[in-house]
């Protein structure tokens, strides 16, 4: 799709593009290329000399069990958050999509957690599940659960998953609601006339028609878990205990800052970048519809 009516200037468009391009190149392309370059370097302990080492950083990374651990943590975390936030959101959206009184009020009451910063969400959940004084933690202890996310990796993972799901449900809910509203009523009515009961109607008609939305959300949620949950993890567990909640992004951060291993951190960034590009490629099919170049 292109405009038929345009202006004929040749200099002005470049001036208009300049701010965005300058910022993009300065803060995006230049750092990204630096990351690639750094991933081939090793800096000595005092930062006085650097050495070009080809793929040594990558090799040591891929030979490092900690890196695989971070990968499996990320995979587990992504799966749990995506599955729970999508199913809860779908359930709520399916309920809110029914023509009931107050549906709009319910929408308002269900979407606001989107606006809460991940780090804040983490703090809220940490407070509830703080082992010694948290209200819910005390309840768990009373029922015999030896709850301690500071020591128990599974407990820590459970806690960050809950906080991440809590925040993400509202986003998914909104998109599912929009997806449901876009399904023509006549299709559902036809199914009803064909004798399908509500439960069956949902799984054989509504859910398949919703699949583009679901797919879109799947990709968005994975990206969300990869990057935006950084704040939750840093606020709740700092990647612990014993790196049981250290995701790939958190590892880039902690290796670079806390460990000072800039080369290794850069190599991780590059691998992460490649993963995001792969995700983008998958999603591109859906972007294409809007970007018709």
């Amino acid at each position: 799709m292109e405009k038929r009516a345009i202006f004929s200037g040749q200099t002005l468009p470049y001036l208009l593009l300049l701010p965005q391009l300058a910022i993009t190149i300065l803060f995006f392309y230049w750092p990204a290329s630096q990351a690639v370059w750094q991933s081939f370097l090793i800096e000595d302990a005092f930062g006085t000399s650097t050495q070009f080492v080809w793929f040594e950083n990558y090799q040591s990374l891929l030979g490092n069990p900690e890196y695989y651990k971070a990968m499996s943590v990320t995979a587990l975390f992504s799966t749990l958050v995506t599955v729970f936030s999508l199913s809860i959101a779908l359930l709520l959206a399916a309920m809110a999509d029914r023509q009931i009184r107050g549906a709009l009020a319910f929408r308002t009451l269900l979407i606001w957690p989107y606006a809460v910063a991940p780090a804040i969400a983490g703090v809220l959940w940490l407070f509830m599940f703080q082992p010694s004084l948290g209200m819910v933690a005390q309840l768990l202890r009373r029922y015999g659960v030896d709850w301690n996310p500071l020591l128990n990796g599974n407990h820590a993972m459970t806690l960050v998953v809950m906080a991440a799901v809590w925040k993400q449900v509202s986003y998914n809910f909104l998109f599912f609601l929009a997806g449901l509203a876009a399904i023509p009523r006549s299709v559902i009515e036809a199914a009803a006339i064909d004798g399908a009961r509500p439960w069956r109607r949902f799984w054989t008609i509504v859910f398949p028609l919703l699949s583009p939305t679901t797919f879109f959300l799947l990709v968005v949620n994975i990206t969300y878990v990869f990057f935006e949950t950084f704040g939750i993890i840093d606020a709740v567990t700092q990647g612990g205990p014993s790196k049981e909640t250290t995701t790939l992004v958190y590892k880039v951060f902690s290796d670079g800052r806390l460990g000072g291993d800039l080369g290794g951190s850069a190599a991780q960034s590059v691998i992460l970048l490649a993963m995001v590009v792969a995700l983008t490629a998958v999603q591109f099919r859906y972007i294409e519809r809007k970007v018709t170049y």
Binding site: A35, M95, L110, L124, L133, Y171, F216, V220, Q238
Partner: protein
Amino acid sequence: MVENRRFGDILSYVILTLGVLVLAFPVYLAFVASTWDAATIANGQLPIYPGGRMAENYYRVLFQGTGSSTRQPVGVMMFNSLVMALSIAIGKILISILSAYAIVYYRFPFRMAAFWIIFVTLMLPVEVRIYPTYKVVADLGLLDSYAGLSLPLIASATGTLLFRQFFMTIPDELLEASKIDGAGPYKFFVDTVLPLSMTTIAALFVIQFIYGWNQYLWPLLITTKDNMQTIVIGIKKMITTSDALTEWQLAMTTAVLALLPPVAVVIVMQRLFVRGLVETEK
């Protein structure tokens, strides 16, 4: 449909109400905590209803600050967050509406190249290039500055794509009528495109304000001075690993203050928010 109407409705209400309560509970609890004193919370005796220390806690947090590692009053942090959120939202809108205008209303060499340069940034958040970007900002002397906080986050394709999409829906005839009416690129932009884009601008503003206010990793890295901290960073620093030192009632007060502005924006401007969210979905 008529079948099971009553039963279905009741089920819907039950599930939705449950959802609302579960979503609201953590925030309610934070609010309750922000109205009690430290001892009550530290003993694990926090009741389920608000206490009487609300005014004191909020006053202390806002204007005096907590005793722990962050000495700055939260008021200062909120101001920093506000400046950052506004800079990001306004900056993004500004640069992206201009670039979209160029891409939609002009044909020039390297137009597609420019579009792709911008487009590629769509999926790559600041997290993956964090240290090199840090170095660029440091080299430019922008650490601990509002420019350093906001400029790197302004670079993103979302706004450009959104405006491009919207401009494509403006009928060609409107530009043609403007040409006949003697309006050039500047007048057409100011007199026609800008007024028509107002809803889109507002929707983008809501989304980007929330995005800016909630930034975490980036401000964490580039602010070293206490008086440049944002509120989201500040609250994290109030929570220490050793429980004894955490003044939970103040931390929760700060949490409530931190989530209030963006949540208020979502609720008050719900229609713009929903529209912005659905349309910026990449």
